[in-house]
Structures are given as C-alpha cells and as structure tokens.
C-alpha cells in the first residue's frame, strides 16, 4: 500500500474552499495544516481571495505553479464534482472531501457521490470521504481536518467511521497523554475504505498498532485480504458497532446497507487475525498496551501485589480470560523466601504484604520477571503509608528496562495518592490502570495476538474430481422451473457431484413408482415429501422411516400426501423422495449461509433434530478457508469429542468430515449463487460418512 504514502506525506497540499472567515471550516482546515507544522507547500484556493492566513491564495487549482499531491475539498456539495475534475487535470493524486450532502442524504446524493467517484476513477485519483473529518499524520506532521487540537505523536493508527468519535477521542487522548501516528475519518467510504487504510497503516513505520471503529465493512473480501496481510505485521484491533438487533437496524439506517450478520463479522475477524474489542475502553486499553509493550512468548502471567484482595481479583481474571498464572521455578521461590517476610505469599500472585516499601516491591517484581516460566507481568499497588507510589513507580520503570522482552502492566489503585506515579509510568511507556480487570485484558490482548501471529495459517484445499458442469445443469433446471429452492433429490445430486457421499434416493410421483424405487434400493427405505415450500418436513407429517415392504411404502405414500395437505393446504407437492435407510452414526450438521458482506459462511456441529436446541455449531468463511481453519473449526465443537470416541465408543472418521467440509467450501466458492445449504444429518461412521438430507437455496 505504497499508494497512500503521498496522501499522508504529500509534497504539497491544496485547500479548495479556503476561507478568511475563522468561523468557516475552510479556514479551520487551512489553519490546522499550517499549525501542525506541515513541512510541504500549502496552496489555499479561492477565486475571491488574494491571501489567506498569510499565504498567497490561488483562483483555481490550475493556477498553482507547483505539482500538488493532495487536495482537501471544503466547498458546497454541488461544486465538488467540477473541482474534482480540475484536480484530476492538475494531476493531483488524492482528494480529501470533507463536504457533506452525498449518499447520506438520499438518492440524489447517492447519484452525486457515484459521479464524483467516476471523476476520481477517470483520473486515477484516490478519495477520502466524502462527508468526513479529514486525516492526520503526526509524524509528517499534517493535520488536514477541521478538528480542534492536534494529537500527541505516538504509534497508534486510529481509523474511524464516525467523525464525531474522532473528535471525541482526539480530545480525550490529549487529557490521557495517549499519542497517535495517524487519524483517519472514513466518512462515506465512496472510494478509500477501512481495508485500504488498515493495509496502508500496516506498512507505515510509525504505526505499531491499528485501532478501528467501524459500523460496516465496505467489501468483505477486500477486508479479509487486507487484514490477513496487515495482522502479520502489526496488530489490528476493531470495535464493531451495531451488533444487537436494534443496533444493526440503527447501523442499517445510518449506512443504507444491510448489515452482515454478527456471526460473520466474528468469524471474519478471527480468520484474518483481527482482535475484536468488546467496548471502546478495551479498544484503547489494548491499543495502548500494543503501542508500548513487547509481545509475550506465552500466556503465563506473574502478579506482584502489596495487598491480597486485588491479587485475588487479578488471579480470577487471568483464569477467566484464558491466560495462566505462572508457576515459578524453585530458585525463584527460594530467592523470594530469603528477602520477603514470613507472612508474604511467595507463590503467584506474590503478595509482598501491606508494610512493603518500594525496595521490597521492586525486589519481588525483579525476581519473578527473571523467572523463565513467566511471560508477562502485572504489578499491583495499593497506596499504603509505606509504599511511596512515586518511588515504586520509578523502581517498576527500572525493572521494565531490565526485562524489555516481557510485557508489563501496572495497576495503581486509588486517586490523588497515586496520580503522579501513574503519570510517570505513562511517560515511561508502562500502561497503568485503576483496577485490575483492564490490566489483565491488556495482557490478554497482547497474548492473543502473539498466538495468532505464531499460528500456522495452513493452505486452501481444493479437489479436482468435482463435476461443475452437472451442478450448473441442475441450477439451470431449477431456475427454469421458477424456483430458488432445490428439491432434496436435486440437492443430493449437487452434493454428489462435489464428492460428498449422500444416501441413495430417487423421486417418485406415484405410489407404484415409489414401490419400484424401493425395491431397487432395497428395504428398509424412508419416504420424504418433496416441495420447495416445505422447510421442516417432519413437522407436517412429511417423513416416514423404516418402511420394510412394498405395502408399507404404498400406504406411507398416501398418508404423507394426506398429512401434508392437511397441514399445508394449497402447497404444491413435487413428489415423494424414496431413500435407502442408512445405519445410524454420529449425527453432524454441515451448512452454508451466504453473508451479505463476507460471502459463504460454513457451519459445522452436532446434527439431527437437536441442532436448534444444543446450538453446537462452529463457523468459518469459505473464502480462504485453510486446512488449519477446518481442523480448528471442528475442534471448537462438542461434536468433535463425540467423533473421537466418547465413553468407549470407537472413534469416527474425522478425516472424512474434514474432507466433506473442504468440499462444501469449494462448492460455495465455485457457485456464489448458493444462498444456503444444509446437510442434516450427516451420518459419520468409523469409515466414511453419508448425508441424509441435503437442502440448497440459490439465487434466481
């Protein structure tokens, strides 16, 4: 993403719509660029002015004598497009369109935005916004926004879909002393979107961590690709708004696009190594930790405290968040015993007790930090009469410098007593918190990212023995019949074409035909009603199992028709599926559901009739699905325990399940028109498996 370098570090910037009036945004933007200490050339453009804020003003972009990399546009919306055209002719590479009044105001605005984008495409310009706050780079330095204030220089890149949140975070960070490398307000994301900026920041030498606030993702596939690449270099933290029903509705109204399902977002984040923050506080707790701390080698945490209660709270949290309390080596414990009082707790959490002075505290911390079984450290201080918080802070800073390879978080409980100490820690790059939970959360974030980065991502598996032509034919026939839902017999054929074993069956329209098919397949058989309108066949009396004779098949045929007509009068019945009964095995469900943003979402879990009750399902996106993903997905389910042989049962064919999942994912990738696919149950045996019921819905 070298392309955006000249956006954040342009040789020259033009401000279109620069104004003399200090009340106008066109003036605020210009002054911000000047005040930020931007080293390049600045060209205000306004046909009515000769000079603004001490700089010569140009009547048009064309009149600027020098080449210009980026233009900030702050003019009424109707003027944006013609000015963009001029910028294109001038050879400007980037537009930052602050002007509002585009997609967010309805259809006309949407058209105007599309036309503006066409202009950008025509000249190969990249655009931020429209309807945004602008962008900041503290290292250039450049402040091309209308925000009040300039953030402290730091190593966090912040990307936000909400301009207002940008303003709030900026102001808050000044108070907290948190520094940023970049600030990006995405606006309407007509051209450049979160994926572009994430990837760009990942290659920015000044950004050590990327924190994002997003309401939706513009392009799921691009996001996955960008984040997969970015997270190999730096951590990407995302707070995604609009997760609840009502929140999703609000986000939909706000963005004018259907929100992807939260499951899909969760899965996408996990698959591309993005860490998802559960609240805004966590987003910045993590960001701060990543911008100052090294990555831990493992998940073993050592806790040093001068009070019992906070130590216990911390221990609980360490366990709850999937971290481990470190077990010290004998040497460490012996050393602690030499210097600590008898009442102290030498085991993790190390309690140096209430009468500890800075010396004792630092000794304990230094000792556990040296233990090779410790990956990260949490130092907890309660303001007692003897602890001297500021002196202790200095000692903690010293320990930090002695062991630069282990992350350290401080918890200084209290108020005015610890204020100065906290500020010292913060200046020295040690994140400190008032209560234990966020400190543990910060260590958790660091640890999870370290694990993600170390993980082998595996490779995408594909099979050559699939029959695409057959699937295409079936889909064409279904469409010609004006349907979107495949009959079970058609769906079974699709699965078979992709090498997924399905129990043998055929469609009968008359009792005689059913009888003949049953004889061919061999008894016992099952009969199932076929109609695109019937979703749950069992509920309407549409399924009969274990039929052992021609007479039984005949009578079941008629009784299914009667039962279905009674439950669903007027529904057209396409016939009855006659299926060979297969042996019982471990019942799984394998499913696909196409998400609006991230494409096909593969699901796997415990199958049969308890799917909705037990909800033992794991998800992965089919795009880029690797063998590692499939293994991990399967291991997340309780079904996996069953497959491996529960309570003395022989283990089932896990490899067959992995293969079936890989084949299903390939089917989804090859045929994006599949909206939904459901195989339930899939019977898994000691050798092989068989899908009993396959459902597929496609687009017209």
């Amino acid at each position: 993403m070298k392309e955006l370098e000249s956006l954040f570090n342009p040789s020259a910037v033009a401000v279109l719509g620069a104004s003399r009036s200090r009340q106008k945004l066109g003036n605020a933007v210009l002054r911000n660029i000047i005040d930020s200490g931007y080293p390049g050339k600045i060209f205000p453009v306004n046909p009515k002015e000769k000079e603004i804020e001490g700089l010569p003003c140009y009547p048009s972009v064309g009149a600027i004598p020098d080449p210009v990399d980026a233009a900030v546009i702050v003019v009424p919306s109707r003027l944006v497009k013609p000015l963009a055209e001029e910028c294109g002719k001038k050879g400007i590479k980037h537009l930052i369109v602050i002007t509002a009044g585009f997609r967010e105001v309805g259809e006309e605005g949407w058209r105007a935005e599309r036309e503006l984008l066409q202009v950008c495409k025509k000249y190969g310009m990249r655009m931020v916004g429209p309807n945004c706050l602008g962008i900041i780079d503290t290292h250039t330095p450049l402040n091309a926004t209308f925000a009040t204030g300039f953030p402290l220089r730091g190593e966090i890149a912040f990307i936000s879909q909400s301009g207002a949140l940008c303003l709030a975070i900026l102001d808050w960070s000044l108070d907290k002393g948190i520094g940023f490398s970049r600030f990006v307000s995405l606006g309407n994301k007509a051209d450049l979107n979160e994926s572009d900026f994430i990837l760009s920041a990942a290659f920015d030498p000044h950004s050590r961590v990327i924190a994002c606030y997003i309401e939706d993702v513009s392009d799921g596939r691009q996001f996955l690709a960008a984040c997969s690449q970015a997270t190999r270099r730096v951590p990407v933290l995302v707070y995604k708004a609009g997760t609840s029903q009502a929140g999703a509705r609000a986000a939909s109204s706000h963005t004018g696009a259907l929100a992807g399902s939260d499951v899909a977002y969760e899965t996408a984040f996990r698959q591309c190594g993005v860490l998802r923050a559960r609240d805004m506080a966590q987003l910045f707790d993590w960001a701060l930790a990543f911008s100052t701390q090294p990555l831990p080698r493992g998940k073993r945490v050592a806790v040093v405290t001068n009070s019992g209660g906070p130590g216990i709270i911390t221990t609980d949290n360490v366990e709850a968040r999937g971290l481990e309390m470190a077990r010290f080596q004998k040497e460490t414990i012996d050393r602690l015993r030499e210097r600590l009082p008898a009442e102290a707790n030498l085991y993790n959490p190390v309690d140096v007790i209430g009468d500890a002075d800075p010396d004792r505290f630092a000794f304990a911390l230094r000792t556990v930090a040296a233990d090779p079984g410790v990956d990260s450290l949490i130092a907890i201080l309660t303001p007692t009469a003897v602890i001297e918080p500021e002196e202790t802070a200095r000692r903690i800073i010293a320990v930090r410098q002695e062991t630069p390879d282990k992350p350290l978080a401080a918890v200084f409980l209290g108020g005015p007593e610890v204020q100065e100490a906290v500020s010292q820690l913060s200046k020295a790059g040690i994140p400190s918190y008032t209560f234990p939970e966020p400190a543990v959360s910060a260590i958790e974030g660091l640890t999870r990212y370290a694990q993600l980065r170390a993980r082998d991502r595996g490779r995408v598996v594909t099979f050559d023995d699939v029959d695409r032509q057959r699937v295409r034919e079936i889909f064409r026939e279904v469409r010609e019949d004006g349907r979107t839902v495949l009959l079970a017999t058609e769906a079974a054929e699709v699965a078979r074409a992709y090498g997924i074993p399905v129990a043998p069956s055929a469609l009968a329209s008359q009792p005689d035909e059913a009888e003949r098919i049953a004889k061919e397949l061999g008894f016992p058989v099952a009969l199932k009603v076929m109609s695109p309108r019937i979703l749950h066949k069992t509920d309407v009396g549409g399924v009969r199992l274990g039929l052992n004779s021609p007479e039984a098949v005949r009578s079941a045929f008629v009784s299914i028709l009667d039962a279905v007509s009674r439950h669903l009068p007027g529904v057209t019945i396409y016939g009855i599926q006659v299926q060979k009964m297969v042996d019982p095995g471990t019942e799984l469900i394998i499913g696909l559901n196409r998400d609006n943003q991230f494409g096909p979402l593969l699901a796997c879990g415990l199958g049969g009739i308890y799917v909705n009750l037990l909800r033992d399902v794991a998800f992965r996106l089919a795009w880029q699905l690797t063998d590692t993903d499939i293994q991990e997905m399967l291991q997340e389910t309780k079904a996996y325990t069953l497959l491996r042989g529960f309570r003395g049962e022989p283990p089932k064919d896990v490899d067959a399940v992995v293969e079936a999942l890989a084949r299903t994912a390939q089917l989804a990738r090859d045929f994006p028109e599949i909206a939904e696919l459901d195989m339930n149950p899939v019977m898994v045996y000691e050798r092989g498996l068989a899908a009993l019921d396959v459902k597929i819905t496609i687009d017209t």
């Binding site: 967010e104 029903q245 109204s253």
Partner: protein, 350 residues
C-alpha cells in the same frame, strides 16, 4: 360456424385461452368476434371491462362495447336485474349481431359458470340459447380439481348445451404428469374429452406490480420504471432480521409486505429476488432505504392500510394481460397452439 363459449372458474385463465384461440383461428383465415355476455363490475379500477378492451385492441374489433358486454354480475345483481326473458333476448340479439359477419364468435364466461342461474342466465343456459359449444377451463391444484371439472361438464350437459371438451389450464409443472396420467384418463372414462393440459407460464399468469398498485393505491416511492415486473409470490416480513434472509431467499420475484419502519427488513429484502415492497401503516422509510430500492430497481409502495387489510385487499389482484404486453400475447397464442387441440375445437364448431 357455431360460437365457442369458454367457461370456468375465477382465475382459470379464461381470457388468455380465449386470446390464444382467437389469434390461432384468425391465422386460419377465420373472421373472429368476441362476446362476453356477463361481465364483472370493475369495482377497483372503475374502468371498462379490461378483457373486452384487450380483445378489441388485439383483434382490431370495432363493435360497440355495450353490445360486447351485456350484463354485469355483482354481489347484489338481483337488485339490478329482474326480467330474465328480456335479458336473455338482449344477449341473443347482441350475439346475432356480432356473429352476423363473422365465422366464429368466441364467448367468455364470467367468474363461475353458475353465476346468475337464478335468472336463468347461467353459462349453460346461455350456450344453449345462442347455440354455442362450451369449452370448460379449470386450474389443476389437487384431486378436487378433477371433480370440479367433471361437475362443470355434467352441469353444462344438464342444460342441454353441447360440450367440446375440457382444458386444464395453468397447471404447475410438478402436477403435469399427474394431470396427464391420472385426471385426464379419469375424465375420459366418464365420457368427458380433455382437449388440453396447459403448463403454467408465469409470464401470462402472474400479476404485475402495476396490478398490485392499482388494487392497493398508495404512494409509489421508488421503481416507477419497473411496474411491469411479475409478482409470483407474496410474503409478509414481520420476523427478526436473523430469520428473515432464509425466508426471503426461498421465493423468487416476490412482493414483500412490511412496515415502513423496518429499514433492516427492507434492506434484507432488497438482497433477494424481489419485484415489489409494500410498506404498510403509512410509515415513511429512511431516505437511504428509498435510494437503495431505486438502485436495485425495486418498486417501493407506501400504503396507509395495516398489514392485515393490505393482505385482504390483495385477494383482488389478478393478472390482466394488457394490449401492449406483446410478449404475453405472443405466449398466450404459443401455449394454446402447443398444448391445446384447437383443431378438435374447430371441428366441434362446424
């Protein structure tokens, strides 16, 4: 040549069949007339009988409209019409007039064959009086459809009118085999000829957005240029967003009825195959929702009824082929020539 009286129940596709037969007969060099002794009062549109308008335009008929549709059946027709004899005389008079310079007059029955039987103006009686041969048309939905076909046939015969045969029309694809293999032999065993089994073609049978708008009224917020989209199914969107997509994906070219405040549901609907979205309760949607519908080319109709009333009103929506729908007209002719034994019908008229 005798007249051909096409009778059957509401929604069996009588008009499309009449149209197809008329076009084929004309192709055979016959001069074809059209007569609808009993029309239906166009309650909703308040306009002239649309079937008559269609036939006049397509067949280039210039006869006076009042002579092409003589009486109008309504729920209270007995308040309007009493003198049975006079009405029957008028019908015969009009028929003779229309038949005077034509080789064949195709007559179309009203909603049901038995309508206005209390005045002796039911289809069977009229057929006998004007000497027309009856063609019975029926849909095929289930086994009762065969019973109804038998009943209509025997009723017409009981009126001493001549029957050319029956046509199963608008037959859903999955029922074709059963109609051909089971219903047809059953009828023929009872002495009723089956002259056609016509598969359902949505292009003729499904109503368009225009017909929905005409029945519902309201305000069209988007998609003005897509009123000719076919509506093949109607769904109500009242579920959570999570359950909505699987439900909406199951049906193609549908109309979805939902509240104007359900931006999420409308957006989900727009991701699936949709011909019309009806927003109930008079709740205006967000501008971005309207913009999205425009982008997708899906008409968005705002009505002031609640959802129940809206659905009740939809019962009145049915497909009327319009004179300018050339494709539908061509198809009406094609399916008749392909699936109906029109030569046998012509023989019966000679």
């Amino acid at each position: 040549m005798k007249g051909l009286f096409v009778v059957g129940s509401y929604g069996s596709g009588k008009t499309a069949l009449c149209l197809g037969l008329a076009l084929i007969f004309r192709e055979q060099g016959l001069r074809v007339g059209y007569f609808k002794p009993i029309g239906v009062l166009a309650g909703v549109s308040g306009k002239e009988d649309e079937d008559v308008a269609l036939m006049r335009e397509v067949l280039g008929i210039t006869d006076c409209c009042e002579r092409m549709v003589v009486l109008h059946a309504s729920h209270n027709y007995l308040s309007r019409y009493q003198k049975a004899d006079a009405h029957l005389r008028l019908i015969k008079e009009c028929y003779d007039e229309l038949a005077a310079d034509r080789d064949v007059v195709i007559m179309e029955g009203t909603t049901f064959p038995h309508v206005m039987a209390s005045l002796g103006l039911d289809a069977g009686t009229i057929a006998r009086q004007v000497g027309a041969v009856v063609l019975v048309v029926g849909r095929a939905e289930d086994d009762f459809s065969a019973d109804r076909m038998i009943l209509f046939n025997e009723y017409v015969r009981s009126r001493d009118a001549e029957v050319a045969g029956s046509v199963f029309n608008n037959v859903p694809r999955p029922l074709l085999d059963k109609v051909r293999g089971v219903y047809k032999p059953l009828l023929e065993d009872l002495g009723h000829r089956v002259l056609g089994v016509v598969p359902r073609r949505v292009e003729i049978a499904a109503p368009t957005v225009r017909e929905f708008c005409a029945v519902l009224g309201g305000e069209l917020l988007a998609g003005h240029e897509h009123l000719d989209l076919l509506v093949e199914d109607v769904l109500v969107g009242a579920m959570t967003l999570e359950s909505a997509l699987p439900y909406l994906r199951r049906s193609a070219n549908k109309a979805v009825i939902t509240g104007g405040d359900r931006a999420d549901l409308v957006l989900a609907t727009l991701e699936t195959s949709t011909s019309l979205i009806v927003l109930t309760g008079g709740l205006y949607p967000d501008v971005k929702v309207v913009a999205r519908a425009s982008q997708r080319g899906v008409p968005l109709l705002l009505v002031h009824y609640d959802t129940y009333t809206t659905i009740e009103k939809l019962h009145a929506v049915s497909r009327k082929i319009k004179p300018d729908q050339e494709e539908a007209i061509r198809l009406a002719k094609d399916v008749v020539s392909q699936y109906v034994d029109w030569r046998a019908i012509l023989d019966a008229l000679r």
